[in-house]
Amino acid sequence: MAERKTASMEEIKALEGKKSEDSMEIDQHMINLFCQCIGDPSPKWKGTAPPGMITTAMISGGAVFLNIPIPYQRTVAAGADWEFLKPIKTGDTLHTTHEFFELQDKSSDKGPRALMVYKSSHKNQKGEVVAVSTNTIMSY
């Protein structure tokens, strides 16, 4: 069974602002796999990525790329925001900057709890920002 790396709230707080960069070429095969999975056979997605592809962890999953330790052993996704600014075409290379933006202590009399906020900015090979996203993980 996988064990997640944990650290104290102070140690994690010190990692706010940590960034990582990733690049990925978008091809039709990736689009097809995504569309098959969600049952979307629309011909609209030949040569153009559905905006929903930005929701995938391989594109907007800052937590996956930054590997920030968690304060408590349990984690679940708490929420996300996506802004879709320009279409993504097959052959585009997405350059994504992920940032561990903020740790919020949400502990209460119900127990320890924290929110970990990640922000990602996605640019194409022309340097145009095609999407921005925020993903929040709850650790408890």
Partner: protein, 142 residues
């Protein structure tokens, strides 16, 4: 896919619902297609160690179902501009999920015909486990 126009939309109208029943196979497929290999979504022992009865559906998969509902609704010339979701409950493989929404506001801003919506994923008990909001831009008939 029928084209939806700005003039076709009224505040308060319901979006066409979409129903999906993600199975364990869907979750494996999603892990591969999306790069999300968190054990909570396929390892029963791991899921139970975290206090869940078994693997749960990826929140991002629910979000992707919502994007499909929206892009099917707005047609080829519509644009999905923004989407926001909060994961407030869990879905389990084999459970039917209903994606729905309601138009909350129409406005013309910066030359764009914008439509704001409440959106949600509803579990079989009728609870909105993943509520959110979305903004789409639609073409005009004029």
């Amino acid at each position: 896919m029928a084209q939806l126009y700005y003039e076709d939309v009224q505040e308060g109208m319901d979006l066409p619902t979409v129903e999906e029943t993600p199975t364990t196979r869907t979750l494996v497929q999603w892990a591969g297609a999306s790069g999300d290999y968190f054990e909570l979504h396929y390892d029963k022992d791991f899921a139970q160690s975290m206090g869940f009865p078994g693997p749960i559906v990826h929140g991002r998969l629910e979000a992707a179902f919502l994007t499909k509902m929206l892009t099917n609704w707005i047609g080829e010339k519509g644009e999905l501009k923004k989407m926001s979701v909060q994961y407030r409950g869990n879905a389990f493989p084999g459970q039917p999920l209903k994606m729905g929404g309601k138009v909350t506001k129409k406005s013309v801003e910066g030359g764009e015909n914008l439509v704001e919506c409440q959106i949600w994923v509803e579990n079989p008990e009728g609870r909105q486990i993943t509520p959110g909001t979305a903004v789409v831009a639609l073409p005009s008939k004029s």
